[in-house]
Symmetry: C2
DNA sequence: ACCTGAACACCGTTCAAGT
DNA sequence: ACCTGAACACCGTTCAAGT
């Protein structure tokens, strides 16, 4: 059974296979991927540097979003950015813990942060406000992503003993929408905060006539 | 060299040793802990169920906070809760990725969430508002903790090419305080949002006279 | 009860050797 | 260039056997 002369492997194929395994089983292993692709383990290392490289490739797959929807008011642009980032995680919740443990090197993702900073900067935010805003939006998206990827056991009802939290969960009738609605509200609070930041930035600018 | 009849090992000792290694090197291994404690590997399993058990033990050590500072207005109680939770992570940034990947089973931590829900519930928040509020505060603390534990590479200056984000970071003069100040502002925004939630909860209550 | 030493079934990674 | 097969240095976990 000779191998086809067409190359079997590619970085993209390896990344997609790993992401699929991650989605289905919550983890992946180099031997698993090799087996799935019908090759032995070592040729994989001809295409990727190692496990960390594969994880960064997966990050790139997930964050591959459509376009920088420009020409929007900054509030909407920031909201779209955050929603997009969170949704890219939401589609692959099982991948989140693995990604979150690893430093971002994937250029496309770094570019996304850059474009967020540009949106704010162009809107007139001071340097300090840009840094604080990006930090908060980053925490929002990562925190919400974790809530999706490994939701706290606190949200699952245990009939052991009545508690304030359990009662709230039972009565809230939010169901599966809990994480989504919390994200939406959280995002709107941050945008309101950014609006205030911008106002005081513009005020102190006029102080220097 | 006979072993002392005094027991050498204990769950607490194992947890502390593992946390110390985690703090120093960013990871730990069962053989490493055994070696550090001067025993072989297997007796560890006489005290802990396995690696996951050790991680939960570490979570318990970290979250072991002083007291439920009651008798505070709910805004301050919530702020103290969040600060306490975040700070407990901040002291052990290297442990965060490992903890965040694992479901919480440690009872003391679950109790903390419970006490947060009780604060809100007692203050008059509706069930829905309690669930949304706890979700947001959870995301805030976890997101900020990750920012501390594995800060994005975006915050490190690379002289490659000028960018909106790099310029902002260079000019912001926030330095090491970036994560701290972002957390503080973020927290105040959420508390402002909770205040609004409570207002509408109380309004709709009076609608039913 | 608490320990030792050895074993098991895995990892990720590398390397000589084939076509 | 791309693959095979085997090896290496590790893991986490278990178990018979000692005291």
């Amino acid at each position: 059974m000779p191998r086809p002369s067409q190359p079997i492997l590619s970085r993209d194929l390896i990344f997609r296979t790993a992401l699929a395994k991650l989605d289905r089983t919550g983890g992946f292993t180099i031997p698993e991927i090799a087996h799935k692709l019908g090759v032995s383990v070592s040729p994989l290392y001809h295409h990727v540097k190692g496990r960390a490289d594969i994880l960064e490739g997966i990050r790139g797959l997930m964050a591959d979003w459509d376009a920088t929807t420009t020409d929007l008011p900054w509030q909407e642009a920031v909201a779209a950015w955050a929603r997009n980032y969170r949704d890219s995680f939401a589609k692959h919740p099982a991948a989140i813990p693995a990604l979150v443990a690893q430093t971002i090197t994937e250029q496309s993702v770094l570019n996304q942060y850059e474009s967020l900073a540009a949106i704010l900067s162009d809107a007139g935010f001071s340097s300090r406000s840009v840094v604080l805003s990006v930090s908060m939006i980053d925490a929002l998206c990562l925190g919400s992503a974790l809530d999706l990827g490994a939701p706290s056991t606190i949200w699952q009802r245990s009939d052991e003993h009545r508690s304030a939290l359990q009662n709230a969960v039972d009565n809230a009738t939010l169901g599966d929408d809990r994480a989504e609605q919390a994200f939406q509200l959280h995002l709107s609070l941050i945008i309101a905060g950014l609006t205030d930041l911008l106002s005081s930035d513009l005020e102190s600018e006029t102080t220097v006539p």
